[in-house]
Symmetry: C2
Subunit: 371 residues, 2 copies
Amino acid sequence: MSISLPERLLLGPGPSNVHPDVLRAMATPLVGHMDPAFHAIVEEVQEGLRELFGTRNRMTIPLSTTGSGGMEACFANLIEPGTRVLTGVAGVFGGRMSEVAHRYGAEVTRVETEPGTILEPSVMIQAIERTRPQVVAFVHAETSTGVHQPVEAIAAAAQQAGAFVILDCVTSLGGLPVRLDDWQIDAAYSGTQKCLSCPPGLAPASFSDRVLEHVAARKRPVVVWYLDVSLLAGYFGGDRVYHHTAPISAILGLAEALRLVRAEGLEARAERHRRAAKRLIAGVERFGFEPLVRAEHRLPMLTALRIPPTVQKTGEAAVRARLLEHHGIEVGGGLGKLAGVIWRVGLMGENAREEVVDRLLGALEAELASL
Amino acid sequence: MSISLPERLLLGPGPSNVHPDVLRAMATPLVGHMDPAFHAIVEEVQEGLRELFGTRNRMTIPLSTTGSGGMEACFANLIEPGTRVLTGVAGVFGGRMSEVAHRYGAEVTRVETEPGTILEPSVMIQAIERTRPQVVAFVHAETSTGVHQPVEAIAAAAQQAGAFVILDCVTSLGGLPVRLDDWQIDAAYSGTQKCLSCPPGLAPASFSDRVLEHVAARKRPVVVWYLDVSLLAGYFGGDRVYHHTAPISAILGLAEALRLVRAEGLEARAERHRRAAKRLIAGVERFGFEPLVRAEHRLPMLTALRIPPTVQKTGEAAVRARLLEHHGIEVGGGLGKLAGVIWRVGLMGENAREEVVDRLLGALEAELASL
C-alpha cells in the first residue's frame, strides 16, 4: 500500500476524525450488495438511524451520496415546477436550499436573518401564514454560522398550513437530539462525516410515509431517477430489489459507528459535545476570540469564533495554514459573508473531548504567542 | 470492531473482490477534503482516470456517487425539456438511460435490439440520420447481457450530426480499452466496483470541454445542483472551491487501485480478463452452460450463460444460493427479460484470474454432480 498522508486532527466544519473501529469496518473484505449477510447489516443501519433521527419512518436510509446529495434528494422528491417553497436562510446552507428548490422550478420565498442569529420562529410563522407554502425548509444546525435553530414551533405552523417540512440535520445528527416524529418533520438529511465520525460518502436520510404517498401520487415522476424514493423503497424495503449498487464499505463503516453511538448513549454523547464546546470557548478567550453566536443559540459541535485583530494582522488563512503545518490541526475558515471574519471550530463526534480542546489551545498558544 | 461477515468470492455482475492494498488505503486515517495533501491525491486520481478513459478532458473526475449516479450526472447536464435523444437499448442499462432521459423531459427515440445481441451500427446510424438527435446515448459493456458494443462508427455518425455522445463505461473501464478522445465521446461514466476492484461508491466520469461550454451556455441551470459540472469544476479544477464534501476514504481507495492498474499495465490487464473468460466458457461447457452472446461480441469481464435444463429443474436461484452458502461464491442471476434464463458470471479486476475460474468450476462440479 503506497498511500501516505500526514496525521491530522480535524477540527474544522467536518469531516471529523474517524474511530479506528470504523476504519477497520470499512476495510472488511466485501460481500455483495444483494447478499443476505449484507442485507442484515443494512437493516441494522436503518434501525440505528431511526433511533438517531427519533423516528419510526420506514424510509430511513443511508442514501448513496454525500450530505449535499441528501439535500438534493429531499428537494427532488417534494418539489415540482410551481411548488411554493418557503426557505429559512440563516447562512450558506439555508441559501443553498433556496437555490436547489429554485432549480426544481419552485416559487421560492426566502426568510433571511443576519448570519450568527436564528430564524425567529415568529417571523417564520408569519411568512408561512402569508405565503401558504407547500414546502417549508430550514437548517437545524447551520454549519456556516454555528447557530442552533429552534425547530418545533416553525414545523408545527408549517404542518398546520399543510406544508411538508424539510430539515437539514447534517451537522446536528449524533451530537444534538433530533426528534423528527415529535417535531413533525417529513424529510430530513444528514452526513456521516460530522458527529457520526465516519468518512464522508453517505447521507443518512428519513422520509415520512406522507412523502412516499405524495411521490406515488405525483403526475410527473421525480426528475432524478437516482434519488427517487419510490424506487429506493424497493431496495430499502423488505424485497431488496436492485436499484443501484449500494456503497457497501461505507455502510459497514456506518454500521460500526452506529454501534459506537448506541454503546455511548445519545444523551451522554450530547453532553460530551456540550462540555467540549464550553471548554473551547473559555479557553480561546485569552487569545481574543469571541463567539459569534449568543450563548443560548450556540451549537455544541461547531463554534464560530470572531477572529481577533492580532490574527487578522498576520492573515487569518496564514495562521490556519501554520496550525495545519506545524501542529497537524485543521480548523475551518468562514464561508460566504463570514469568510475572513470567523473561524469555525468543529468538536464533532470522536473529537468532542476536552483533551482535544487542550491540544488545540496548546497549538494556538504556540502560534499566537509570537504574533 | 464488531462487524463480521462471511468470506465471499464475488463472481456476479459487480462488486468484485477488492485488493487488500485498496482496503488498507480506505482505512487510512482521514485528512480533510480541503487539505493540500488530499488535493494532491485528487489530482493523481484525475490523471489516472484520464489514462484509463483515454482522454485529455480536464473534467475527468471521481463523482461522489455510485455508477448509476454517474449516469444521472451525464443526462442531468446535457438534457433539457425537449432535447432530442436517441438511446441504444440492448439490455436493462440502455433501457435505464431512456428512462432517465425521459425524466429530464427529453423526446426519446429508442433503438432496441434482442438481449444478447449488439446494436447494429448501421441501424443506429440510420436512426441518427432519421431523427437528428442532439444527444446519442448507449452502453459500451451491457452488464445485463454481457455484450461488447462497437462504439466508433456510431459515435462518429452522432458527431457528424452534431449530437453529444454519452457512453456507459460502467463495466468496461479498467478491463477493456476505452478511448474517449479517439472515439469522440463527450460524456462517459463508470463505477469503481467492477474492473477497478474498489468498493462501490464513486462514479469515475469524464466530460469534454464541449459539454462544459454547453452547460455554461444553458438558459436554465442544470436541475441537479449536486451534479452540475459547472459547479463541480470549481473543486476539481485548480482552485479547489468547496462545493460538497468529497468522499475522502473512497478516493484514497481509488487512488491505490489506479496505482495497481498502472503497475500492471492496461494491455496486460485486458489480456488477463480475456484469458479468464476463455477458461470459464471452456470449463462450464461440460455442465451444459452455453454463452448467450456470439463469440465476437462477448465481453471478457462478464459472461452471460444460458442456464441448462438440469439447473432449471432444481431452480436456478436455489443453485446460486447453494454456491453462496456452501462455497462462498456469488454469481449473478439474469435481469429483466433474462431473469431465470441466464446466469451472469463476472471475472472482473482482481477476480479475472484462471485460478478463480477453477475455484468456481470446482464448486459447480460439487453442486451439479448431485442433480
